[in-house]
């Protein structure tokens, strides 16, 4: 991976993060279930045209769509419309990670390594972030990392444009 590729990879979580404030904005104008439906209808058009039909049994496809598209996002939009802040919603949604690990261990026979258990322990404490001290810490950590990457990235980008690359 070149430096630019890694920048693109970093863009993915940034865009995913933006999805929550965007949802909050959308809920200012639409009722929650309509908003969730619109989101998936908009997504379905390019998906049907450009993504090949997945080679799985139809019941798995429908089951995933009902679980992820209907259940998860309906509840997310209903929760945010009821007053859950966007930042907290994004954190709560990450609760799927520890649950996936536990359910996979129970039903699919995946192994629970000490590292995974430690990860679940950390995630289980994330609701504490509502306390200001930890929220401030998150703000500092994330903004410092983003500022470092943005600053060095912009410098390198403009240095290339103006022919001032390091010799």
């Amino acid at each position: 991976m070149q430096g630019g590729d890694r920048g693109l990879v970093l863009l993915v979580p940034v865009l995913w993060g933006l999805n929550f404030p965007a949802t909050a904005l959308m809920l200012d104008h639409y009722p929650p279930l309509l908003a969730a439906t619109l989101r998936f209808v908009l997504l379905a058009i390019p998906a049907i045209l450009f993504v090949p039909f997945p080679q799985v049994k139809l019941r798995w496809l429908v089951g995933t769509a009902l679980g992820l598209g209907v259940m998860q996002f309906s509840f997310l939009y209903l929760g945010m419309a009821t007053g859950m802040p966007a930042g907290l919603a994004s954190l709560v949604l990450q609760a799927s990670v520890p649950f996936t690990i536990l359910l996979a261990a129970a039903f699919l026979g995946e192994r629970l390594t000490p590292l995974r258990l430690a990860g679940i322990g950390i995630v289980a404490h994330l609701p504490l972030l509502r306390e200001h001290g930890l929220a401030l810490l998150v703000a500092i950590v994330v903004s410092t990392v983003l500022a470092l990457v943005a600053g060095a990235g912009a410098f390198i980008f403009v240095a290339r444009l103006t022919g001032q690359e390091e010799r």
Binding site: R6, L136, V138, A139, V141, A150, G151, F155, Q164, E166
Partner: protein
């Protein structure tokens, strides 16, 4: 002669000399630990000194004001030390002139992202206006950040803590972060850490590479001015 340790303590703890000595010793220990750890960025000497002094103040029940009476001599040296940064900048002047445009781009990007992303996260967590005003200037050097925060209605004490945290964090993550991303240009790495993590980041840059250090110095200096403009604007947008 009275050798009661409690009396000796009562005498010593009144004078500023004790806390000046403690500050210098704390840094000396931090520096020694940093060397012993093979100059790894996680063993930041400032972080170690802060932890040691914090423990000492907590254990002895010393109020911060008493401590600061001694520590203010070190605090005063912050000014002259900042001026000394002009020296390596002067040595790198031709290189800096040539890279004026990249410096400007990196400075603006890092400064805007530092302020806006911190405020966006703070707002998402529902932090109050006073806390957000204290958070906005956290990437600039401490005296300037405190000045900006006061103007915006923040708490100077909270700002001082956030500035320190930002500096230590930036100094610790900068090398592993840019190594992982494959950013090898010392000028870019220095400018970014100076802009995002002020003096502590600049000190780290000088430990790693002299060119990075000089560019960190200019990033830190210019960002003090830029944040004074950006922070009020961004705060109005989020307020």
């Amino acid at each position: 002669m009275n050798a009661d340790p409690a009396l000796i303590w009562a005498y010593l703890s009144q004078g500023p000399l004790l806390w000046l000595t403690a500050t210098l010793m704390g840094y000396a220990l931090g520096e020694a630990a940093f060397r012993a750890a093979g100059r790894q960025s996680w063993a930041n000497p400032v972080l170690i000194a802060v932890i040691l002094l914090g423990l000492l103040l907590t254990v002895t029940g010393t109020p911060y004001a008493t401590y600061f009476e001694g520590a203010q001599f070190v605090h005063f040296m912050l000014g002259p030390a900042t001026v000394c940064l002009a020296l390596p900048m002067h040595d790198n002047l031709p290189q800096m002139r040539a890279a004026a445009l990249p410096i400007l781009a990196g400075l603006v990007a890092a400064s805007v992202v530092a302020v806006v992303s911190a405020l966006a996260i703070a707002q998402a967590f529902g932090l109050g206006a006073e806390v957000m005003a204290s958070l906005a200037p956290k990437s600039t050097t401490a005296p300037v950040a405190i000045g900006i925060a006061e103007r915006l209605g923040g708490q100077p004490t909270l700002t001082a803590v956030l500035v320190l945290l930002t500096g230590i964090l930036g100094a610790i993550i900068v090398t592993p972060l840019f190594d992982a991303l494959g950013f090898r240009d010392w000028r870019a790495r220095g400018l970014a850490v100076g802009t995002a993590a002020h003096g502590i980041g600049t000190a780290r840059a000088f430990q790693v590479n002299p060119t990075a250090g000089a560019f960190a110095g200019i990033g830190m200096g210019l960002n003090a001015v830029l944040t004074a403009i950006i922070a009020p604007l961004a705060l109005r947008f989020f307020g």
